[in-house]
């Protein structure tokens, strides 16, 4: 267990020192990454990109029925 905790501590120190000693450009791109991920997941995904089939149909059976309807070229539409 001691060895495992030592490994964890070393891993933590590795990332901690890495982020701590990051150059200016590194800090700038991290700010951009965080803003970008926030916009993508907290705004775009949440408000603009719901899963169409999950939102409109309760279960997979209904979803497959709907898609079948969309796929089939019914005889009414034959040329």
């Amino acid at each position: 267990m001691t060895g495992f905790f030592q490994l964890l501590t070393r891993l933590f120190r590795f990332y901690y020192d890495g982020f701590g000693n990051m150059p200016v450009w590194g800090r700038k791109v991290w700010i951009i990454i965080i803003i970008k991920l926030f916009i993508m997941f907290a705004i775009l995904k949440l408000f603009f990109f719901p899963d169409f089939l999950k939102k409109n149909y309760d279960n997979d059976k209904q979803r497959s029925e709907y898609v079948l309807d969309q796929l089939i070229n019914s005889p009414d539409n034959h040329d």
Binding site: G18, K36, V67, N73
Partner: protein
């Protein structure tokens, strides 16, 4: 129903996907290619122990880091769009698309959280050997991660290794290896990787040329040009070879796309390869679409027949062969394919309606039809044609397909020349004196980006009207959502990606001007 989906929605959904994919692809190839250049540079440092090579590696690693960080996760937006805008398609493709994308996601996550961190944080903290291995793993892992995306895209161009389940309305993977080693996937991977290597080499050559023009960092610039020149020349030759292989495969699995690439309407033997050409609308029509004719062209006699059929007398199929059919060459017309597709569609309708009043034996019997190999080969593979209204609808936009292909090829030959010249001047010891060449190399930086994007435009526009070749037209794939919401998100993406791109360019330019640490 599908008839209520207007073209505006289809067009905006396509435009939105194109916009996000094009922006995403501005970041990806540099990451794929530059990681290998870094690995080569660091290997030289490891072997020679010379600090100059460490400095060179760390400088390019900074630029790699900026590009990697700005580009990371931009591809996830495409997955958002699958669920919202392309729900019929997402459902229909089932696990065939899901499995490769999941593997790609897991691979990318583990690579990015471990070995990229070692690359940037690990200098002087881990052994030289472990650091070098990490850099190579980032390079190899990045390419492996690209495999899965390209496998998924290749399946859309040439669907193999699956059967359709009418119960779930989804395709199910039955032969993983057929999907992985789909000839289109193999060609696509090799061509994409080699063109990404080429793009990164041009990036290094261009920035190094700028240093030489400014008479700064002469050692770094010349050593970088050596690596970029050799790697770039080999990659551009490989891109030409794999591009040729890819075109041959397209002529077999997507013959209409291939004919559009050459604007070849009437199939013929001894077909010449159009090196350069300009198209115009002619008075001839195929249904409601006008036939494109050449205003002028420079043609290499017989070469198209030689490249596709391996023989100058070989027959190259034209667009008309596929629209109207050609019995002598065993090519089915669109009308015949539509009849077959409609037969498959009618059986699917029978299955759907029968769920209410058929016995389970009757339903099983219909279900088994979809598992029958002959039915799959002779009928279901034409399923998408049941939704094609007019035979000419299977013709993609010929000018876009033709020009994107020819421009890409011309640029490809230009890259071979530029890398060869860079190496020639470097070995002659005259690279710094030839300012004109340095300026050409500097100004060429955007050209591989343009060529790479043109390649994707050719791939996707040339495939129209299909989202999955012969199985599903784009019009059947879109979700029935309001086009207003698609327009809104299109604008949001355009703004977001433009801001990201400006950020990347400005941070990168500042780092280039700063130069490597001394």
């Amino acid at each position: 129903m599908i008839d209520n989906i207007d073209l505006t929605l289809v067009d905006w959904s396509r435009a939105q996907f194109a916009l996000t994919a094009i922006y995403h692809w501005l970041f990806v190839p540099l990451t794929l290619g530059l990681s290998f250049i870094l690995a080569i540079m660091e290997t030289i440092y490891y072997k020679t122990g010379k600090e100059e090579w460490k400095r060179i590696t760390r400088f390019w690693m900074t630029l790699f880091g900026i590009n990697f960080a700005i580009g990371v996760a931009t591809g996830i937006i495409l997955e958002f769009e699958f669920g919202t805008n392309w729900s019929n398609y997402s459902w229909f493709v089932g696990d065939i698309f899901g499995a490769p994308l999941a593997i790609e996601g897991i691979l990318a996550f583990f690579l990015e959280s471990t070995f990229v961190a070692v690359m940037f944080f690990g200098w002087n903290k881990v052994s030289k050997k472990f650091h070098l291995i990490s850099t190579w793993l980032v390079a190899i892992g990045g390419s492996l991660s690209a495999v899965w995306i390209l496998v998924a895209n290749a399946w859309m161009q040439n669907p193999v290794g699956m059967i359709f389940n009418p119960e779930t309305a989804r395709n199910e993977m039955v032969d993983f290896w057929a999907i992985l080693f789909n000839q289109v996937a193999v060609d696509k991977f090799l061509h994409t990787i080699s063109s990404s290597f080429l793009l990164a080499s041009m990036f290094v050559l261009s920035i190094s040329s700028w240093f030489l023009i400014r008479k700064r960092e002469m050692f770094l610039a010349k050593r970088s040009i050596l690596i970029a020149g050799v790697f770039g020349l080999l990659s551009s030759l490989m891109a030409a070879y794999t591009g040729d292989e890819s075109a041959r495969t397209i002529s077999e699995v997507q013959p209409v796309k291939f004919a559009a690439m050459e604007a070849l309407y009437d199939g013929k033997s001894n077909a010449g390869l159009v090196a350069i050409g300009l198209l115009k609308d002619s008075e001839k029509m195929i249904g409601e679409k006008s036939v494109k004719d050449f205003i002028f062209k420079i043609e290499i006699p017989d070469l198209l027949s030689v490249l596709t059929a391996g023989d100058k007398d070989g027959y190259v199929q034209g667009i008309n062969d596929h629209v109207s059919g050609n019995e002598n060459k065993g090519i089915m017309s669109v009308s015949d394919k539509k009849l077959r597709g409609q037969y498959a569609s009618d059986i699917l309708l029978d299955f759907k309606n029968g769920k209410m009043n058929y016995s389970s034996e009757q339903l099983d019997s219909i279900n088994s039809i979809f598992r029958d190999k002959n039915f799959q080969k002779d009928y279901f593979r034409y399923f998408g044609y049941s939704s094609i209204n007019n035979p000419e609808d299977v013709i993609p936009n010929v000018p876009i397909t033709f020009y994107s292909f020819h421009l890409m090829v011309m640029l490809g030959f230009l890259f071979i020349l530029i890398f060869a010249m860079a190496l020639y001047f470097l070995f002659k010891g005259k690279i710094s004196e030839n300012k004109w060449f340095l300026w050409i190399a500097l100004l060429s930086m955007p050209l591989p980006y343009i060529a790479s994007e043109l390649g994707w435009i050719l791939t996707e526009v040339g495939r129209q009207p299909w989202i999955i070749q012969d199985l599903m037209p784009v019009s059947k794939a879109v979700s029935n959502i309001s086009s207003g919401s698609v327009i809104t998100t299109f604008i949001l993406f355009a703004v977001l990606f433009t801001v990201l791109l400006i950020s990347e360019v400005s941070i990168m330019v500042r780092q280039i001007k700063t130069g490597p640490k001394h």
